[in-house]
Amino acid sequence: MGDLKQELKEKIIEQLNLEDISVDDIADAEPLFGEGLGLDSIDALELIVMLDKDYGIKLADPKEGKKIFESIDTMANYIAEHKTK
């Protein structure tokens, strides 16, 4: 699980173009949206595409993303449980 969390942090930084933010700056339980990393609605859509492309997870309802993308912890748990590749 630790490797997956590390991988997620690296992907988020790269794919969401988070300049001047390193893996060490992202705490596992820190909120990704709002006061956390300050991600926005386009970032949320980008994360949905990332789940599909990299882990074979298709979200039928984008509203599911609100819970899944709460933090690195919640993302990693969901991916570990549902990934198909």
Binding site: N17, L18, L45
Partner: protein, 210 residues
Amino acid sequence: MKDNPYKIAAYCHIKQQRISLNGDIILENSEIDFPSFIKSVYKHFDTDYPKFFKMDNLSKLAFMAAEIIMRPEKKGLENNQNIALVFSNRASSLDTDRKHEASIKDPNAYYPSPAIFVYTLPNICMGEISIRHQLNSENSFFIFDDFNAHYLSEYTNCLLQDVKAEKVLCGWVELDENTFEAFLYMVAKNGPIAHNVEAINRLYKKSWEI
């Protein structure tokens, strides 16, 4: 013929790794590829705006040109000024369109990026500038074969005469991969240069020669 009452208050040109403001070169850079070049420009001018890194390349170019030309404006005046934006180019958003196309051309790897797709219109760059400077003003983006001083001048005069804006930031922002050019100028009631087609073309040509 009645003189045009409006003036060019300032102008900025970004081209071939050089930036000039009001005819003076203010930055030269050896970075060849556009992303490296514009990132170094962002850092040089101490621009603290993380959303910059999420923009497409055309928006980054327009954003930094506007940033440089409007820095004095920001120092002396409040935000929410009535500054209209009238931009133009030849390639529209082709550079970003190609990136979007690459993400959807393989039916077996169909993963369009929302972050790229939202920039597949050239006028989005004006939205980024409006957000940055809190402008709730008129904006228009025209596609021409070449820089068209006559059309920009006429359109700008109409906006000012009809009191649709107090100032107009206008010009040309063109980008296709590592070939790029931004020429923006601010038209206002006061300024050192007459606002007419001849002057605009002279400044544009002069900037070409820097």
